[in-house]
Symmetry: C2
Subunit: 463 residues, 2 copies
């Protein structure tokens, strides 16, 4: 006969009884097919209502610990319990981000520069005015409102005439590269720039694609190397190459388009990650806008222009690929929340985005000048050249030294100074150019830079 | 000699000159290697400052339309222009969502039920208090704050003791399935439930995985069928199967764990998509929480409990897989924006999530009762059985008829009534059970339901 102690029971009695019986089953006190007391007997013997017992038994039945046979009663189930339990260590190794006193490689948005108050205002408005719309599931390519806003931004800012339905919004460019691999096929040959954005290798590899490498010359992607790679999809950044800063001139752009048109199935993936920041004249025309043959896929992000922590990127597909997306992948859910899509759409539509870009351009241009002035007054002024292209948020510092990059970086890190060199961005060990330091100045503090120049100078001198 | 008309010029003069020269180059008026006038000559002849000409030339050089040779002057580049342009139709075919007067298949959150004002309040607070944190890039698994909040929710709500670092946050379960395929390997054999959530087929296929099917019996996944499938990864929903509503009892759960432990490399993917909504007793213990051998990956979403338009889901990895994630995929960026991660973390931490679930449970339980009462008063009351398991947001209506599902659905759609049947959810054409209608009642209007029952009755009578 089951009897339990009901003193000091916390929570509902039925739950307590349920737990007691469950424990008796799991510990083996109650064995498979043992008959349990009837609800009425149990209730009477324990001074508890039959309803309470009923609730406890129902829970045990629902979870399969007991079963019932009509007119016969309740019985313990036959549980085939896994007895041996391995110990779980919970020892999860999380890679730590190293912290440096002077970090010229770390790329993050300065908190002061994000338009928090406008974002908060738009968030409030969207949450009060767009309740119904927020609850409607967005199409696979993203909300129409945001795509329209992006299309009109592209027209006024980049001279790109684009149907909003060509635009696909996704949670970051890394995610969108994956969508593209699905759309174009994992069996195609992809190629990326060398030197280039090294993380691309990892990103493609996670999609089980092994990209080829295309060498760069001073105008961008080298056509001979591109042909040699046998690439079908060339993933390039003609508008501001990272890390060299090269801006591909128009003649080379047409050569690239010409390459894409030689063979069916070739595409150019134009990565326009930081084109918003150019300081003289207007931004360069995109490959997409001078392509008349549906050969260019344009991809851009709000990571550089707003903040990398917002996770919104978009691509513009040629019409036939947009149709393929809608016919084959319309089951896909858009990966960006409606809340943020609406806020961002309003942010662009009401002109805040343009204002923000203009403000950031001025800020970065000023910062750029300060950085150059600081370098020119520093002890390294006579042994370094600044290679810059008036675009983007970084430039290259060529240092006249015989110290190898590896040695140099080791010495600098000992002093708490972290800076990347061009040699870090080569995909292979061939033809590596040394002594070129990459200065991401978007978040540099001038006082620290001046101290850093002194450290660099000392590290070179100790040759 | 270049001369242009400067009357009625809108915008800066340098841009106008830049455009005129560019047009002359593109139209062929200026040919490759033609010499342009010197800045001074150009300026004098056109009555414009040399600075303006300099700016126009600089832009043309940056874009590659012209080049300069020191001490010789400026020359037109040799552009290898793609002449033939195909016409772009912009005729993008977007699949339209059909609209029905009575839609019992469409699953969306009722606008009245989302806690907009609390969300807005938390958004305001996060944007004013967490500026610095929002700008810091999140680890690949998501923000620590949100993972801690989810871990403590899982403990109190699901009895799951979980290290926050086992949790991976992503933009929707569809995205997370893809991460899992990367983690476990595309070459593994995956299996899904039959009948089951049909979209899973599409989702796995986009990752180039062809899942096997596992038949269901009345306790859930059939072990013989599971063994026959030769599956290594079983993707199942033991806590409330869609669409049958089956809740897998504990004994079967242990059998499943036993299966997973028979061979190395086997895993169970426990999809717990709507477990928050159970009406009697407390929720069932998850497979994850009774697994002692790191064989279960738990996955859940805020789509059902908050709204599908928020795009936040999470999975809980066994420790060794969490370590694999951090060692092999730490380069991955989290796909959910920091803004929403912080808002959601606060929403859970301050108890709003629990309150919301409790409120929704009451609402849904009441709705459920109303729906059942409505059915019991309707003309179909004598020819239908309600099969329900007191969980989730749908149940099954078994209709006593000889009319095939296909005919029946056709007749109903003619009357503007859309409802899914169990037969829609079979992955193959074998052993299909007919006459079982799936009623997602989360968003049903009772008046419409009563009209709909009349329509169903008429459609059966016309046999």
């Amino acid at each position: 006969m089951l009897t339990y102690n009901y003193e000091n029971v916390e929570g509902p009695i039925y739950e307590y009884i349920y737990k007691c019986i469950k424990n008796d089953i799991l510990s083996g006190n109650l064995k498979a097919n043992d008959k349990l007391p009837s609800k009425r007997t149990f209730a009477r013997n324990n001074g508890i209502s039959t309803i309470t017992i009923q609730n406890a038994y129902d829970q045990l039945i629902a979870e399969g610990y007991i079963y019932t046979i009509e007119r016969k009663g309740y019985f313990v189930s036959n549980l085939n319990i896994v007895k041996e339990k391995k110990t779980v260590s919970y020892n999860i190794q999380i890679p730590k981000q190293p912290h440096y006193k002077y970090d010229f490689a770390y790329n993050k948005m300065n908190t002061d520069n994000f338009p928090f108050s406008i974002w908060a205002k738009l968030g409030r408005e969207v949450l009060s005015d767009k309740k119904e719309e927020i609850m409607q599931i967005a199409p696979c390519g993203g909300l129409t409102e945001l795509r329209e806003a992006i299309a009109s931004h592209l027209l006024s800012f980049r001279g790109m005439a684009v149907d909003p339905n060509q635009i696909v919004i996704g949670a970051g460019t890394e995610y969108l590269y994956g969508v593209l691999v699905q759309l174009l096929g994992r069996d195609k040959k992809y190629a990326i720039e060398n030197p280039g954005y090294k993380k691309l290798m990892n990103i493609y590899q996670q999609y089980e694609v092994t990209p080829q490498f295309i060498n760069m010359d001073k105008s961008g992607v080298d056509l001979d190397s591109l042909r040699e790679s046998k690439a079908e999809i060339a993933h390039i950044s003609p508008n501001h190459h990272f890390p060299t800063g090269i801006i591909t001139p128009v003649s080379r752009r047409y050569e690239l388009l010409s390459w894409a048109n030689e063979v069916d199935g070739r595409y150019i993936l134009e990565d326009d990650y930081d084109s918003e920041f150019r300081y003289n004249g207007k931004p360069l025309p995109t490959l997409f806008s001078i392509d008349g043959c549906e050969k260019v896929i344009y991809i851009n992000t709000f990571s550089k222009s707003l903040t990398p922590t917002i996770r919104v990127s978009y691509m513009v597909l040629p019409v036939h690929l947009a149709n393929m997306m809608y016919s084959d992948y319309s089951f896909k859910s858009c990966t960006v929340s409606n809340f943020e899509q609406y806020i961002l759409a309003e942010f662009i539509k009401r002109g805040y985005f343009e204002k923000h870009i203009n403000r950031m351009r001025l800020l970065y241009a000023r910062k750029r000048k300060q950085v150059i002035a600081c370098l020119q007054q520093s002890p390294i002024r006579d042994i370094c050249d600044i290679i810059e292209s008036n675009a983007g948020l970084h430039f290259i510092l060529e240092i006249n030294t015989t110290v190898s990059d590896k040695t140099m970086k080791g010495r600098l890190e000992e002093q708490g100074l972290h800076i990347n060199t061009l040699s870090d961005y080569y995909m292979t060990n061939e033809n590596i150019r040394e002594h070129l330091f990459i200065l991401d100045y978007s978040n540099i503090q001038i006082e620290k830079l001046s101290e850093a120049c002194e450290i660099i100078y000392q590290c070179i001198k100790t040759t």
